[in-house]
């Protein structure tokens, strides 16, 4: 363990023992912008809740016998896409719904089906791209965020297309396709034409994510025998590993900072623990934000890029925690019994 602690994080300068006194003050928390949607398991079923950085919670969805997962906030900040999952006669069904934040009735986008997931919004909020099994094992469809929308197929690949990510300018969609026998990253125009292949390797390349300025794509690959994040220009050039020599084990759950200058990600540690790292996109050694003594996961940036929310299993429960983007001021945000996880941080309107 000492060997790991030595990297990018001198003893006493990061994680729980970080600079700055203890947890964030009430005053500081009240000044943090936005709201965080998350899954809570405090009831029998999974529901979506909202929590402000100050700690004030409200329940957004409540449907007994059904699990709701927060997918993606709408670009106008007025609604959240929710994936609702339930068992019907032994079949698992999923439905994408647009849940208004003002408490209005959710709008179901399509009838329940076996697979509908990973939606990604256009920047103007007029359409989105998602995985669907409507016509195949898994292909990408483009649809409008309204009831009974027509799904326009964007791909038709028997082996499956996955994990669409609409570019920040709305012109392109990065995605994964297994047509070559293993997953590779592709980019196509938002109408499904002009595909270009970004990666070529006989191992897995998955999870394409645009930097908010559209200059980079991040993706995860097991090409070196472990799961590791790489950056590449959207034309396929300038590929490099995010973590350099800093991490040794599997990485997961990368998130781009709003200014596109940094990425935060998780390194899996032995004994089911994990640790958060931040890396500057223009290079330099990544810095550990947490100390690796517990399970810290699923980081998400505040809209102003000054704070992170993350999931931590400390004090005997899985909760959301807040910290400054330098790892200081780690503060428990949710306290209800039962796991709270999958945070999505956005500015509601």
């Amino acid at each position: 363990m000492l060997a790991l602690l030595g990297w990018g994080c001198r003893a006493g300068t990061c994680g729980r023992a970080a600079s700055g006194p203890g947890p964030l003050s009430e005053e500081e928390r009240r000044a943090i912008p936005g709201v965080i949607a998350f899954i809570s398991e405090r009831a029998d079923q999974k529901d979506v809740w909202l929590v402000k950085p100050s700690g004030e919670e409200t329940q957004l969805t409540k449907s007994p016998g059904e699990d709701d997962f927060p997918a993606a906030p709408s670009p106008d900040g007025k609604a959240l896409l929710v994936i609702a999952a339930r068992m019907v006669n032994g079949f698992h069904l999923e439905q994408m719904r647009l849940q208004p934040l003002d408490g209005g009735e959710p709008v179901a986008l399509h009838p329940p089906r076996a697979r509908t997931r990973n939606p990604s919004w256009s920047p103007d909020g007029r359409w989105l791209v998602a995985e669907s099994d409507a016509r195949s094992f898994s292909d990408l469809v483009r649809l409008e965020p309204k009831a009974g929308t027509q799904e326009q197929p964007l791909t038709q690949v028997k082996e499956g297309c996955f994990e669409p990510a609409v570019s920040p300018d709305g012109r392109e969609v990065a995605f994964v396709s297994s047509r070559e026998g293993d997953p590779e990253i592709y980019v196509m125009k938002a109408d499904g034409t002009d595909e270009r292949r970004i990666t070529a390797f006989h191992q897995e390349d998955r999870e394409p994510r645009w930097s908010p300025d559209g200059q980079w794509l991040s993706f995860i690959s097991n090409r070196e025998g472990r799961e590791r994040y790489f950056l590449v220009r959207p034309d396929g050039t300038s590929l490099r590993a995010v973590s350099g020599e800093a991490t040794k084990l599997d990485e997961r759950e990368l998130a781009w900072s709003p200014d596109s200058k940094k990425v935060v990600f998780v390194e899996r540690l032995p004994e089911a623990k994990s640790r958060l790292w931040v890396a500057a996109v223009d290079g330099g050694a990544p810095v550990a934000l947490t100390d690796g003594r517990s399970r810290d996961d699923a980081p998400a940036w505040s809209p102003d890029g000054k704070y992170l929310v993350f999931v931590a299993e400390r004090q005997g429960d899985v909760d959301l925690w807040l910290m400054r983007a330098d790892g200081s001021g780690q503060t428990r945000l949710t306290t209800a019994k039962g796991p709270d996880w999958l945070p999505r941080w956005f500015v509601p309107r």
Binding site: M1, L4, A85, E159, S178, R240, D250, E253, P339, L342
Partner: protein
Amino acid sequence: MNPMRNPFAAAAAALALAACGPQTPDSPEAAQAPSASAVADAAREAVRPGAPGELDPLFEQAAREFNVPANLLKAVSFTETRWQMWPGLTEFEGMAPAYGVMALRGEQLARGAALAGVSEAQARTDVLANLRAGAALLSAEAEALMVDRASLGDWAPAVARFSGITHTDAQAEYVHHDVFATLRKGVVAQSAEGTVTASIMPTEVQAKFAMPSLRALAAGPDYAEAVWRPSGNYGERPAGTDISMIIIHTCESSYASCWSWLVNPDSGVSAHYVVKEDGSEISQLVSEEKRGWHIGATYDCKLNSNVDCGLTGTSVNHFSVGIEHGGSASQTSFPAGQIEASAKLSCDISRDRTILRDSYHIVAHGKLQPATRTDPGPNWPWASYLSKVQAYCTSDIIVDTNNANNDAAVAKFSASANWTKTSSTSGSYGGDYYYASVQGITDTAVFSFYLPAAATKSIEAWWTAGTNRSASAPFVIFNAAGTKLGTVNVNQQAGGSQWNALGSFSFQAGWNTVQVSRWTSSGTVVIADAIRVR
């Protein structure tokens, strides 16, 4: 690591290492080294957070109190859980979840707790209470069967009853090949710090119990290396089904308990395959053509921190093949032998059924059942597992310019400092490539590949095309003795970002090479990116 290494030597080595100061923790992936012995793996598994530190004194205490042989208690515990505290996960409806190092479940747990004078909650979560409850149960079985407690072999029927297994053959397998085999072989587990946490010294002992039936066991109908133990718990797949997925499960029980439950007509569940903890045996229970009943329950995501699990979920019995693995989703690592055997099986299924070998088609039960299942758990080594499945299924060797991407046993690349590494042109193989200016000198970039035996192979090359490339870049092919087999000149201004055939050549056993030469006249640079040997 010597695959046959003595577990006691392993423990001693670990102790010696521990004396040299802090160690970098073993990666969970590192635990999958193919040559590691199952026993050594078991040793690595034995310590997990919040779980037992030193187990030996606790085993001794519980065994003494209930007049049970300590080694027997240890061997039963090792067979059930590899000496880990199981948290009580559910895999099959109707089979109560197993708790603690003794894997006590359901009424058995209640009875054991009562006999040991502890609460059920204590028996579930406290190591000593769990061991005492287990010892009390074993003792009660011995009492009922009037076992001669001084004779280790006489305990076998009590062990069989303790297992809860009702299938006669599975009982025999459990007693002879698991519990008593463990006693005969011995096991040592050590903590990350190198201290011995639990150990069984090898004992000469024979179980006094009916041997497993001697009738020849048939090979599985779809996988000849499997033992065919047909289950009646299956249905027909819908007409025209394209079998497109492999689902990875853990049993939340031992192998014998697992397959015997899945062939029990009362269980209402099945899987196509079950892989034993050490990989030494696989059972096939359902023909791949048929619809197994391995998915159908709901899942609990709280141990599965991955975002994916939240957004997924489907009932996929009709188009998938299910592989169960003896063990638990809570395991901190999986034995290398089990991963190897399972990867070989997944390769075979994927080849026969044309299933893609990627993480969208070889999937965790927990990922697809995001309501109450977590198996095979956060420590299933997905990256190396998928690599192994692919490696078993392809005889291709790919040599990339980035040696971090290469399987060092069969592929390596080298070039002098005059060659420049770059990723400035898109479409390179693996993300980067090397270039060098054309010059009348011998300064090649060398792709080396290892063949265990002489063979004729076709060679393909990958480059990034561009107008400044040589129109006649020389690829020179040598055998392991350094004899030139041929030169192929290619136009690197075209044919970029794809495999281009260079031809077939007869290679020798050993390290053969394909070299990119700078000695050519046209163009300004030559490119070395990757070669494929098929």
